[in-house]
């Protein structure tokens, strides 16, 4: 029984632990640095057209994306022209999909009968990669921002929906009995019991949804877009400015890592109790 686990903070030597964290972080970054050096050496020697060395790519990133005046936080023109639109589409789509996913998931998680009727349909919906809907969406809804955001939302929706549904359906019955016995209002039952109990699952869905949203935003900008990192990638490729292509990829990866880290941070805060309860608290 996990009940009697007493993972009380040991309290001892927080400073030493922080040092350990820092040194571990250094080790991990060191590997990344080594990879860059290897790439530099490998690409620097033969002046490959398609694989420019980091010494060319990284300055290009700085020039394009980070060369602005201090009044704009040093962010360059390309950041405003391409990163901001991409980020905005992605976040709008992801937020929309996440909210819809959680709302539908809670509803279907609670209503077993409804779930049984709807699930086959949802299974088909999930089986169709959202990216393949791009053609239809372009033809029917055009090239505006709305259809792009909608497609991203659709992609992010399914993992969130399925995970939430599972999490809600798996809430320990006695937790709901408690709410019944104390006659708490439906709102408190939902937001105070069902949703918090399902949050570990919801976050698993959000993480998957976020990576899908990142893929989809780039994809929707390949065709019928006039800005965004996806547009930038295609332009660079068509004009054979390979360095620009690589620079956009670097920016994309940084964006992905940053967004994941941000979600991870929120998750750590929101699910502090979960790590504690399951014995996974920070030692």
């Amino acid at each position: 029984m996990s009940a009697t686990v007493q993972s009380l903070r040991a309290g001892g030597a927080p400073r030493r632990r922080r040092l350990v964290h820092v040194s571990q972080g250094c080790e991990r970054v060191a590997l990344l640095a080594i990879a860059l050096v290897v790439w530099q050496l490998a690409a620097g020697g033969n002046r490959s057209l398609y694989f420019p060395p980091p010494s060319e790519v990284l300055p290009r990133v700085g020039e394009e994306y980070l060369s602005g005046p201090w009044t704009s936080l040093f962010l360059g023109e390309a950041t405003f022209d391409h990163v901001v639109p991409s980020l905005s589409r992605m976040l709008r789509g992801f937020t929309l999909g996440a909210f819809a996913g959680v709302a539908l998931g809670v509803l279907l998680g609670l209503r077993e009968r409804a779930r049984q009727y709807v699930e086959p349909m949802l299974q088909f919906g999930r089986a169709i990669p959202a990216s393949t809907l791009l053609g239809i969406i372009l033809v029917v809804f055009g090239t505006g921002d709305g259809p792009k955001v909608a497609l991203i939302a659709t992609g992010a929706l399914f993992p969130v929906l399925f995970n939430t549904m599972e999490g809600v359906a798996a809430v320990t019955p006695v937790k709901l009995d408690v709410a019944s016995v104390f006659k708490v209002p439906t709102r408190q039952r939902l937001l105070g019991v069902v949703v918090p109990a399902a949050t570990p699952k919801v976050f698993a869905g959000l993480r998957t949804g976020l990576s899908i949203a990142l893929i989809l935003v780039v994809l929707t900008e390949f065709i019928g877009a006039f800005n965004g990192l996806g547009y930038r990638l295609v332009q660079a490729q068509r004009n054979f400015v390979i360095v620009d292509l690589w620079a956009a990829l670097v920016v994309l990866s940084v964006l992905g890592v940053a967004l994941n880290a941000a979600l991870g941070l929120i998750e750590r805060r929101v699910l502090r109790w979960h790590r504690g309860e399951t014995g996974g608290a920070d030692e």
């Binding site: 029984m1 009940a3 009995d177 708490v184 109790w273």
Partner: protein, 286 residues
């Protein structure tokens, strides 16, 4: 009943519960009836699987009986009665791990009282179970006994008319168990709460109860109601050494034994008491 109406908090009569399993209809409760007076501690004992917990879930309105009526304060109830407090056996699941102890205790009155008032009530409730210092911890940072104290504080926070306890001390060690039993008696003495408690432990039933309702094996009926007139306040050592305690204990044990297996009645004295402990580990929480 009408003459004593104001003194009877809970009245159960003709309660029957059937359920389906593998195409057969099982009868958990055949015909159960009893009353709980204001300020009384009534303990229901019965062999494992006799439907004690089912009975409590029906009274709590979590389960619909096949037949029979439940009346609280003389009014027939369909669903969860007002002014109910409940303590479940499995504290690790019944407390909310995402809420700190204080918020767990405030949970039943969160929308019913304004903030300062519910804060005050929670403080009071936690003080009553001796956990004021743990209010800002999470339940999973506490020992099992402390967690069950939190559950008791939560049951009391709304100033309940009736507190239901479903094998509340079955999941803690023996030492903690006696402590919690004494805590319950102390709270009962101080607050005068009305308690309906289910247990399979005969010692516990005699030690806590004003009255014991003995259920037979399923399909259950009330095989006897035993009044317990042991003096209060009670004491783990003195009360349990009292000849009256021993006599009551033997009587309840005998009642359980005879209903469980009539053939064993012929066994020499002493045997019934031993047989009683068999039922202890058999009850496994879901």
């Amino acid at each position: 009943m009408s003459s004593t109406c104001s003194d009877v908090v809970l009245s159960v009569s003709g309660l029957r519960h059937e359920y389906r399993s593998d195409r057969a209809v099982q009868v958990a409760l055949a015909d159960v009836g009893f009353e709980v007076g204001r300020g009384e501690v009534v303990v229901v004992v019965g062999p494992s699987g006799c439907g004690k917990s089912t009975l409590l879930r029906i009274v709590a309105g979590l389960l619909r009986p096949t037949a029979g009526t439940i009346a609280v304060d003389g009014r027939p109830i369909d669903g969860v009665p007002d002014g109910l407090g409940m303590v479940f056996q499995d504290y690790s699941r019944s407390l909310y791990p995402w809420l700190r102890v204080r918020a767990n205790v405030e949970f039943p009155v969160r929308t019913r009282l304004d903030r300062p008032e519910r804060r005050r009530r929670a403080e009071e409730s936690l003080a009553a179970v001796g956990l004021s210092a743990q209010a800002d911890k999470y339940p999973w940072e506490l020992s099992g006994g402390m967690q069950q104290r939190v559950a008791i504080a939560r049951a009391l926070v709304g100033d309940p008319e009736l507190v239901l306890m479903d094998e509340p001390f079955a999941s803690v060690d023996a030492q903690t168990r006696s402590e919690l039993e004494d805590l319950l008696l102390e709270l009962h003495g101080r607050l005068g709460v009305t308690v309906l408690l289910v247990t399979h432990d005969i010692d516990e039933s005699v030690y806590l109860a004003d009255r014991i309702v003995v259920l037979s094996a399923a399909p259950s009926e009330v095989s006897a109601t035993v009044d317990v007139d042991l003096a209060r306040p009670r004491d783990q050592l003195a009360t349990k050494a009292d000849p009256e305690f021993l006599e009551l204990r033997a009587r309840v044990a005998g009642l359980l034994k005879s209903k469980r297996d009539p053939a064993e009645i012929q066994q020499p004295a002493g045997a019934p008491l031993e047989g009683v402990d068999d039922s202890r580990p058999a009850k496994v929480p879901l």
